[in-house]
Amino acid sequence: MSFHPNDISRRAGISKIALCVGFVLLVGAFFNTQVLHHQKYVMQSEENRLRPIPLPAPRGIIYDRNGLVIAENLPGYSVSITAQNVDSLRASLARLASTLQLSNDQVEAAVRRFRRAPTRPTVVLADASIDVISVLEEHRLDYPRLVIQSVPKRYYPDAQAVASFVGYTGEITESELNSPQYDAYKPGQQIGKGGLEKQYEKQLRGREGVRFDEVDARGRPVRGDGPRPDLTPEGAPPLYTNIDLDLQRFAVGVFGDSLQGGVVALDPNTGGVLALYSAPSFDPNKFTGGIPAEYYKQLLTDERRPLLNKAVQGRYPPGSTFKLATAVTGITNGVVGLNDHMPVSCSGGYQYGSRYFRCWDKRGHGSLSLYGAVKHSCDVYFYQLGLRIGLNKLVAGGISLSMRERSGIDLPEEKRPDFPSIDVKSYYNKKFGAGRWSNAETLNLSIGQGANSQTVVNMAKFYTALATDGHAAQPMIVKGTPVRKPIFHLTSVQDSAIRAALAGVVEAGGTAAASAIQGVVLAGKTGTAQNAGKADHGWFVGFAPADKPKIVVAVLLEFGEHGSRAAHIASSIIAHYLKIQPAADALETGG
């Protein structure tokens, strides 16, 4: 051993240096971690222990024009669960399955939600019953990862009666989550799925809040009071509509359980939608929080197609209701005057080339002026008027009367009508094949048959122009600045003459005479939509009072055979709106 004092102190000195180096290295490393990178680790530590629990915002309340509630929120309960991975989620779900009576589909749906947003509590039941909740609350300690939340639940007091325009809400789907439109959305959230709920999703949604739960390493909440202040959810402002809920309910009642079809009631001066209904309807409340499979299946298999909105999605040949478009096109083209008669008087039909085109009334109408032709809906008159206008101009006229575009109603479901394009020849060539159609199409088109299918709402829009002075009002459910666009220009004499002719329809001898209303002049037009192989659909589009219209109503009655029953529905709705008793019982008439 060399334990000479000099050796020892040299080694001691080196040892002390080594100790200091170790000390400095460690302290330096801690300084680097604790002082220089402090913020980074604080964030990680907060992320570790704070679990954000989203607090859904109540959707905006939807009101009718008189402040009645169309859509509101009721207190509901959702059951969510937090998990660290798919396996632990499945294990938790398996334990909960019997209490919650979860189906396999529900379990798989929850797993999908988790995969998409593993840090959010995974929604298991969006709308749990109070029974389920009370059982869960009893066993709360057994399920520490369970998040039971009181959540606003969409409710429509009038249920079926308003489904046609208000739509419904439901959980956002996988494909919706994939679309950029729903970038800010998370699985398990409720969104508007149709009608106003979808159209105004942005306004109705509100802003989700957040509650911070402190959790331990196993994800179990540990303290009651929030370690960080909550972000309270912000409910959306209410949505005010033009709907007259009283009228809506009345219209629904008129259709009852047996009739099927669509109705749209507009204020011709603003385009405000007073009522919109498609019969039969569905219960939007059942869609909230997940639609029961058997109810959905029932809706899908119902032959009356309750999920097809007959007011904005269904397209039907407008039949005689279109004759006014032919008339207006004739007048604006200068080929017919209000008192003009056609060369061939009506004897029940019209010979065109090799084909004989029938009038709806085999007995014939004789020689009529335009006024009489509208009142009696004489086909022979309009065949000749159509020929006089010519197919190209008739189509151009229809297009300018917006027969080829959507009405612009604020519903996402609205379909565009079928109508020939301005390039008439190539349109028909494409539709029927070159040389496989003839000028006889002019005759079909002039009475609203042929290549022409319209939605109920679009016909209502056209009649707002007839009811006023050629200004078509864009139908709007939600209150806003009215959009009115002139679609034809007639002299005021011509305008009022057309209204008078439409009033004639509901007068004695007219096709809807039975639908007259006492004390007010009702104007309108019946129509029959040919329905291959089945009973025809009946139309009526009209307005009242004829001289100063306050309401336009378009009714399509599926399998209504002809327009008189539709007219009856329309006249009751109008009478209800104008607070007048309609005339009694219907007569057999045609359109």
């Binding site: 060399s2 020892i8 000390f23 290295l25 460690l26 002082v35 990680q44 530590s45 570790n48």
Partner: protein, 414 residues
């Protein structure tokens, strides 16, 4: 009277402060939101500490000569106990698959390896002190190598990598203190370096050239030189095979050391959470017992291996610096004791204990920041554990005695 009992105040104060700090942290480690068995452990830790102090007092009442006389029996006893662990050893905690505990039934008695850390120091000091000169060749080192090698092999068979590292630290530290020259130490350690570097052919090649140069310059015996080079080649070749032999959890620990984010949920979890705890503590910490990482059980083994993470989280950089400064002070003091020791045995014992603790601190504290691989090595005076606390204070007692018998005692100042 007190003067006679307490021969070295700085040593006693440093060790006591560290123990108090340690017990406080063990108490805090038990303060979790979901109470666990750790909650009451500070009580037994206090008992162990008091027991340790009593043992230390007992040792100070004896003499260094008595200790030296006891060295061989104690060493042999610890070897026997270590050997027993291989037969009837039990695992515990995170190292459940190892056999480092002696137990009767389900009652764990203790870890013989903790006692062996002290007895090996004593035995090595005895062997080295018995020589007239410092070992000058590798052949001279066969005895010391055997003293450390036997327990080391048993410990590696348990297996307990961390304690193995401590033994190697003790071995090199004490050889250095006994006067073994730097080149010889490097040559001695070269096979281990080869072991590590063998994973990169280029680095290993470079190391081999340095080694050859060193051998030519130092000129050991020819046989030694050949054996040494062969040992380097062998470890270089064996290393990859040895890697395969490691248990998966050991492989993972080493992999995670290199990149903790490689497996953030499993093996890397401990290190990541420990760093988050320490980093989020900042300068002043989150407050005693208030660390969220610890409270909410994100921190693993918070009362044993990762107790220093609790220090970092709750008392911050200030607390960390205080703790490390206390350790530095203690180690400086022990270095002084070994400098002033009356004889080479005492001097070597003191320095050996210091080296042992220094390695513990370096590896344990470094591990909490991922500067060292996770080896399950405790922090002296801090980590919960009876055997270790007793061993630490036994060491303090021995040091007190050595200090008391040392030269220039009256000159020693705090």
């Amino acid at each position: 009277m007190l003067r006679r009992i307490v021969s070295d105040y700085p040593l006693l104060i440093a060790a006591s402060l560290l123990s108090l700090f340690g017990v406080a942290m063990v108490y805090s480690a038990g303060q979790t939101d979901t109470p666990t068995y750790v909650a009451t452990m500070y009580r037994s830790q206090m008992v162990w500490t008091i027991a340790g102090v009593l043992i230390a007092y007992g040792v100070t009442r004896s003499s260094v000569r008595f200790i030296e006389w006891m060295t061989v029996p104690l060493y042999l006893l610890s070897i026997v106990l270590l050997g027993l662990t291989l037969v009837i050893g039990k695992g515990a905690g995170t190292a459940a698959s190892t056999k480092s505990w002696l137990a009767i039934g389900s009652h764990r008695l203790g870890q013989p390896s903790e006692i062996a850390k002290v007895t090996v120091v004593l035995m090595l000091a005895r062997v080295l002190a018995s020589r007239r000169d410092a070992p000058r060749s590798l052949l001279d080192l066969w005895k010391p190598a055997l003293v450390v090698g036997i327990p080391w092999v048993i410990i590696m068979l348990q297996p307990d990598l961390g304690t193995g590292i401590v033994f190697i630290g003790i071995f090199f530290g004490m050889l250095y203190w006994s006067g073994v020259s730097w080149p010889l130490l490097i040559l001695l350690g070269s096979p281990a370096v080869s072991l590590v570097l063998s994973f990169s052919t280029g680095l290993w090649g470079a190391w081999f050239f340095i080694l050859v140069a060193l051998v030519l310059w130092y000129r050991p015996y020819l046989v030694e030189g050949i054996v040494l080079m062969m040992a380097n080649v062998a470890t270089g070749v064996v290393a990859p095979l040895l890697w395969e032999k490691l248990a998966p959890y050991q492989q993972n620990r080493l992999k995670v050391f290199l990149d903790p984010s490689a497996d953030p949920r499993a093996s890397g979890y401990h290190v990541i959470q420990s760093k988050v705890a320490i980093g989020s503590g900042g300068i002043f910490g989150k407050g005693f017992t208030l660390g969220t990482q610890k409270r909410l059980a994100f921190l693993p083994e918070q009362h044993t291996d990762f107790i220093f993470s609790v220090v970092g989280e709750e008392v911050g950089f200030i607390g960390v610096t205080v703790a490390l400064t206390l350790f530095l002070w203690l180690f400086f003091r022990i270095t002084q004791i070994s400098q002033r020791a009356n004889d080479s045995y005492s001097s070597l014992v003191a320095f050996g204990l210091m080296t042992s603790w220094f390695v513990h601190v370096l590896v344990n504290v470094g591990m909490t920041l991922n500067l060292m691989p996770i080896t399950g090595i405790p922090l002296p005076f801090f980590s919960y554990g009876g055997s270790f606390m007793l061993a630490c204070w036994l060491g303090v007692g021995v040091l007190m005695r050595i200090s008391g018998e040392g030269r220039g005692r009256t000159k020693i100042r705090a």
